[in-house]
C-alpha cells in the first residue's frame, strides 16, 4: 500500500499571501495543527505549523530551542505567570504578516508512491501532518494526517 491510498487528496491549504491572522482562523476552523502552503498553481512551498505559530508567541531564545536543542535551555517559564497580555500582543503584531514569512520548508515530504511505512515513520517523528508532493510537477498531491494513517492501517485488508 502506498501513500496515495491513505492521503487526503484535497486538503485545506494556504497561499503565501494569506495573512497569519487568516491562517490562525483556518487552523481553528479545520481543527488541524498544520496547513500546507502552495502557489496558485498548487506548487508546494512548505507547511505553516502550530510549532512555528506557538514559537512566535514565546521569547525568541525559547522559541529557537528546538533548532539547537543541545544549547542552553530554560527549564520552564513559570516565572512568566502573567504573560497572557504579552502573547496577545505578539499575536496581534504578526496578524497582518503574510504566512510566507513563517513557512517551514524543512518538513520532509513524501511522494504518492512512497510506502505507507514512510508515512508512519514521519508521524512517529512527531509530524502530525505529512505533505505528499508529486515528484514530477512539485505540486501538492495530498496530505497525510495521523488519523488517516492509523485508520487506514486498522481497516486495510
Amino acid at each position: 500500500m502506498s501513500c496515495k491510498a491513505i492521503m487526503t487528496v484535497d486538503p485545506p491549504v494556504l497561499y503565501p499571501t494569506d495573512t497569519v491572522g487568516e491562517a490562525v482562523d483556518r487552523l481553528l476552523d479545520e481543527r488541524v495543527l498544520a496547513l500546507p502552503v502552495i502557489e496558485r498553481d498548487r506548487r508546494y512551498i512548505g507547511m505553516f505549523a502550530k510549532s512555528r505559530l506557538f514559537g512566535l508567541l514565546l521569547p525568541a531564545v525559547v522559541a529557537s530551542e528546538s533548532t539547537v536543542p543541545s544549547m542552553g535551555t530554560i527549564p520552564d517559564l513559570d516565572f512568566l505567570r502573567e504573560y497572557l497580555p504579552e502573547m496577545q500582543e505578539r499575536l496581534r503584531a504578526i496578524a497582518d504578516h503574510p504566512v510566507s514569512r513563517y513557512v517551514d520548508k524543512t518538513v520532509p515530504v513524501l511522494h504518492p508512491d512512497s510506502p505507507v511505512v514512510a508515512a508512519v515513520l514521519q508521524v512517529f517523528r512527531t509530524r502530525n501532518f505529512v505533505p505528499v508532493v508529486d515528484p514530477q510537477t512539485g505540486r501538492l498531491a495530498g496530505l497525510i494526517s495521523t488519523w488517516d494513517t492509523i485508520a487506514k492501517i486498522r481497516t486495510a485488508s
Binding site: 531564545v61 530554560i74 527549564p75
Partner: protein
C-alpha cells in the same frame, strides 16, 4: 616472557625523540587551532601517535594523565547537571532584574556580578548556558538590545572563573599539577579579580549601560516576573545547595587532611546523585543517572586526557626544560621580567589560541625554571601570572574561550548575532585593561 610494559618501545625509524615529539605537539596545536577537526580527536590522535612512535610507553602515558583534574571536572559537571534542574540560576537572574527595579543599566551590572560569582564556582560554559537564555528573555521583554548584556557576561564569566581553583580549566590544571590549594587561589587571585570585575562593570556601564533605556511599560513587565516560580523543584534546590556547600567546605578544609579536590568533587557528585535518585525505582534511577552522565562534557574530558599525554611525552624528551632555560635566559633570569612576560604573552596568546593546551604546556615549562628562581616557592608569582594571563586573555576575541563561542551561539540562535570583528574592537582593549590591572597587582604584591 612478558615484555617490560613500562619501558618505552624503540623509536621508529631512528627519529630524534625531541624533535619527533615537538613535531607531534606543533601538529596537534595547529590542527586544534584550525578547528577543522574536533579537539578531543586531535588530542587523542597526538597522544596515541607519541606512544606508537615510541616516544613514551603506554604506562608512562597513563601516568601522565592527571586524575585530579579529570575527577574534579567530572565531579563538578555532574553536580551542575543536577543542580540546574531545580531552576536556581533562572531564579537568581530574575531576582537580580527585580532587585534592580528593572532598570536596564542596573540589571546589566547585577547580571555581571551573578555571572562572575557563579563562574567562580562552576565551569564558565555551564554558567553562561544557564544565565544567558534568561538574560535574553529579560532584554526582549525590556525592549533593549541583548548585545551589551551578553558581551559583559562573557567577560564576567571569564573574569569570575579566574578567582578560584575550580572556576576555569586553566586554574584546575595549575592547581592540580602544581599542587596549589583552593585557599591559595582564593587568597592570591580573588582580591584582584574583585577589582578587575568592578572595573569591567564600570567600563561597560560607561560604554553601554548609561545609554540603555526601557519604557515604563516594559519595566513593569519585568517587575511582574515571579522569581519564586522559577524554582521548579524546591527539594532538589535544598539538596543541591547543601551538597555544593559541603563540596566548597571540602575544597577549603580537606586539603590539610591530604584530600585532593577530585575526591571532594566526586564525593559531592555521588552524594547528590544518591539524593536525586533516592526512593526511585531501579529503572528510573538508571534513566536519571544516564541522563546526568549524558551531560558530562566528554569532549573536554578526553581532550584533557589526550593533552596530558602529549605534553607528558614532550616533557619526557627534555624539550620543555630546554625551552625553560631559553626563556629564563631571554628575561635575564629576572623574576619580575619573567612574571610580566608570562602574564602578557599568556594573555595575548590565549586571546587567539585555546588556553587549555597552552597552560598544559606552560606548567612543566615553568616547573623547569625552579632552579633559576630559588626553588618551587620562587615560582609562585609565575603561577599567578599564568593563571591571570590565560584566563583573562580569553576575553580578547570571540574564539579566546569556550564561553565566548557558547554565548555567540546562543545569540545567533535568537537572531542577535555577535560578530568576530565588532566584538574584538571592544573586547581586546578591555581585555588589555584587565591584564594591566593584573600587572599592577603582581608587581605590587609579589615583585617589590
Amino acid at each position: 616472557m612478558e615484555p617490560d610494559a613500562a619501558a618505552p618501545i624503540h623509536l621508529l625509524f631512528g627519529l630524534n625523540p625531541m624533535w619527533t615529539a615537538t613535531a607531534v605537539l606543533v601538529a596537534t596545536y595547529a590542527v586544534i587551532m584550525s578547528e577543522k577537526v574536533n579537539r578531543a580527536i586531535v588530542a587523542l590522535l597526538g597522544a596515541t601517535l607519541l606512544i606508537l612512535l615510541g616516544i613514551m610507553s603506554q604506562e608512562a602515558a597513563v601516568r601522565g594523565v592527571d586524575f585530579n583534574t579529570i575527577g574534579l571536572l567530572i565531579g563538578m559537571m555532574v553536580i551542575v547537571a543536577i543542580t540546574k534542574r531545580c531552576g536556581v540560576f533562572q531564579f537568581l537572574a530574575i531576582w537580580a532584574a527585580r532587585r534592580a527595579r528593572a532598570n536596564p543599566a542596573g540589571i546589566m551590572i547585577m547580571l555581571q556580578i551573578i555571572t562572575a560569582v557563579v563562574s567562580a564556582f562552576l565551569d564558565n560554559v555551564t554558567t553562561v548556558l544557564l544565565v544567558v537564555p534568561v538574560t535574553m528573555v529579560i532584554t526582549e521583554e525590556l525592549g533593549v538590545s541583548p548585545y551589551p548584556f551578553l558581551v559583559s557576561q562573557v567577560f564576567a564569566s571569564n573574569i569570575g572563573g579566574t578567582a578560584t581553583l575550580i572556576g576555569d580549566p586553566p586554574n584546575i590544571l595549575i592547581g592540580s599539577l602544581v599542587g596549589l590549594t583552593f585557599n591559595q587561589f582564593i587568597l592570591n587571585l580573588t582580591p584582584v579579580i574583585i577589582v578587575i570585575q568592578a572595573t569591567a562593570c564600570l567600563l561597560f556601564h560607561l560604554l553601554w549601560g548609561r545609554r540603555l533605556h526601557a519604557t515604563e511599560q516594559a519595566r513593569a513587565r519585568i517587575m511582574r516576573f515571579d522569581a519564586g516560580a522559577a524554582i521548579s523543584d524546591r527539594r532538589l534546590l535544598v539538596q543541591s545547595l547543601s551538597v555544593i556547600a559541603i563540596v566548597i567546605a571540602g575544597f577549603v578544609f580537606a586539603h590539610s587532611f591530604g584530600i585532593q579536590p577530585a575526591t571532594t568533587a566526586l564525593f559531592g557528585a555521588a552524594l547528590l546523585m544518591l539524593l536525586y535518585c533516592f526512593g526511585q525505582p531501579a529503572e528510573e534511577q538508571s534513566e536519571r543517572v544516564q541522563s546526568i552522565f549524558n551531560e558530562v562534557e566528554w569532549i573536554t574530558i578526553f581532550f584533557f586526557v589526550g593533552l596530558f599525554i602529549v605534553v607528558g611525552g614532550v616533557e619526557e624528551t627534555g624539550l620543555l626544560k630546554l625551552a625553560a632555560e631559553k626563556l629564563v635566559a631571554a628575561t635575564g633570569g629576572n623574576l619580575g621580567t619573567t612574571t610580566i612576560a608570562i602574564l602578557w604573552s599568556s594573555a595575548v596568546l590565549s586571546a587567539v589560541i585555546d588556553n587549555i593546551p597552552f597552560v598544559a604546556t606552560m606548567i612543566p615549562l615553568i616547573h623547569n625554571m625552579a632552579p633559576s628562581f630559588g626553588g618551587p616557592e620562587g615560582l609562585m608569582p609565575l603561577w599567578w601570572a599564568l593563571s591571570l594571563g590565560a584566563c583573562l586573555g580569553g576575553n580578547g576575541t570571540l574564539v579566546g574561550a569556550s564561553a565566548n563561542l557558547t554565548v555567540a551561539g546562543l545569540a545567533e540562535r535568537a537572531g542577535q548575532p555577535i560578530r568576530f570583528v565588532p566584538y574584538m574592537k571592544i573586547a581586546f582593549p578591555t581585555m588589555l585593561a584587565t591584564v594591566a590591572i593584573a600587572n599592577v597587582y603582581l608587581v605590587l604584591r609579589y615583585l617589590p
